[in-house]
């Protein structure tokens, strides 16, 4: 972990400088200069650097509670294509979101224990993310809970990766799309706000594409044969922003206080 932090500390300053350089490059080229295609860095690599805010108001933005395209508003989360193993696990969830939401002793691992949200649930939250592209590692910094991921561009997955909250991620560019392949998860996180489970065989594919200067499209594909009978995908949209990322930590003491002072008191039967 210390080594990774050290790498981050060393990599961030040049990456930020690189990012500023790229911003400068996006200024229209003088007449006669070779025009650079918008959204691409030198070498034709998609330029994703910057701060991105989820567009939760647009038609794609409301698809926040589930990745199941047949149930975008999570009105029937129990109908997701779960295997018997996952369906049994799903019966035990008490989510604070969606059609089956409950606050009676919720067992949402994020809300109850401040567990890391994992991937892809991190994208279910309405907070910003920042891309920092370096040649060997692409970093994604998430505003929500201040977690970050390193996407390795120069290696494959380990043969037997550790089970982790955010997985082991490798990346590649294909045309105008940045593709992230992630495995090596534990099975402690939920896929979404409604409590859909996953196994340690979860395989997530993220496809980021900068549709235009201000719009970043993310397509997430869930592949988990232990938990789901088929793969499924959904899309979210982010907008370029100049608003710096703030502090949205999940501090257990604050979470507990809020739960007791506010959430619990709105439940039936009423408390004081």
């Amino acid at each position: 972990m210390r080594i990774r932090m050290a790498i981050l500390m060393i990599a961030l300053p040049p990456a930020l400088a690189f990012s500023s350089f790229l911003t400068a490059q996006s200024v229209p080229a003088p007449t006669g200069a070779k025009a650079q295609q918008p959204g691409l860095m030198s070498g034709g690599i998609p330029d994703l650097n910057g701060i991105w805010n989820p567009d939760f108001r647009g038609p794609e933005g409301v698809r926040v509670n589930t990745w199941d395209p047949s149930d975008p508003f999570a009105t029937h989360p129990e109908k997701a294509p779960m295997t018997p193993w996952a369906a049994e696990k799903f019966k035990g969830v008490r989510p604070p979101f969606g059609a089956l939401q409950t606050f009676d002793n919720t067992n949402d691992p994020v809300q109850r224990y401040c567990d890391p949200p994992g991937v892809p649930r991190i994208y279910m939250y309405p907070w910003e993310l920042t891309f920092l592209q370096t040649p060997k590692i692409v970093y994604i910094l998430y505003e929500y809970t201040k977690v970050w991921r390193a996407i390795y561009m120069d290696r494959d997955h380990p043969k037997d990766p550790e089970n982790s909250w955010m997985g082991d991620s490798t990346g590649k560019y294909e045309g105008d799309t940045f593709i992230i392949d992630t495995i090596g998860f534990n099975d402690k996180t939920w896929l979404d706000q409604t409590g859909h489970p996953h196994s340690d065989a979860l395989h997530v594919i993220e496809r980021f594409r900068r549709v235009d200067r201000d719009k970043l499209e993310l397509s997430v594909t869930i592949d988990d044969p232990k938990a789901y009978t088929k793969t499924f995908s959904a899309t979210k949209v982010y907008k370029l922003t100049t608003e710096p990322m703030g502090e949205t930590l999940c501090a257990y003491s604050e979470m507990k206080e809020f739960q007791e002072n506010v959430v619990d008191r709105t439940q039936t039967p009423p408390s004081k």
């Binding site: 999940c250 002072n261 709105t266 039967p269």
Partner: protein
């Protein structure tokens, strides 16, 4: 047929809005979003912290009895982006605020999620608000 279609569209639209509203930290099923009440009273405490900003205030009910209300807002980061700050109000300030009350009758309300901020006036000054 057209009426049914309109009803379905309205239902889908409200579901979509609800879906947007619930994405922050938890669902809002505990609140009656179709009902808005106005409270007038005094700020007891303004708790500017995660996961949500919370206002504690004292206000008299229709019978003239003093009640201690708890009002939920969006996360601090989202309130900042909407133009609020931790010094938006302090204990002792006069406040008039609209809120969606809890369904169970407890003196708890929600006046902001990431998608809306209801009308809030502190010492005669209106704070930034927005509708969905």
């Amino acid at each position: 047929m057209k009426r049914i279609l309109l009803a379905v569209l309205a239902a889908v639209a409200s579901l979509a809005m609800l879906s947007g509203a619930v994405m922050a930290h938890h669902g809002v099923a505990g609140y009656d979003l179709t009902k808005t009440i106005t409270l007038h009273g005094t700020v007891a405490k303004f708790d500017w912290s995660n996961p949500h900003v919370v206002l504690y205030m004292d206000a008299k009910n229709e019978s003239g009895e003093m009640q201690h209300w708890t009002i939920e807002f969006a996360a601090p980061v989202h309130m900042v982006r909407a133009g609020w700050s931790k010094s938006a109000m302090k204990a002792g300030d006069d406040i008039t605020i609209d809120t969606h009350p809890s369904r169970n009758g407890a003196p708890v309300g929600i006046s902001s999620t990431i998608t809306f901020i209801l009308k809030t006036v502190v010492n005669g000054q209106a704070l930034p608000s927005r509708t969905e």
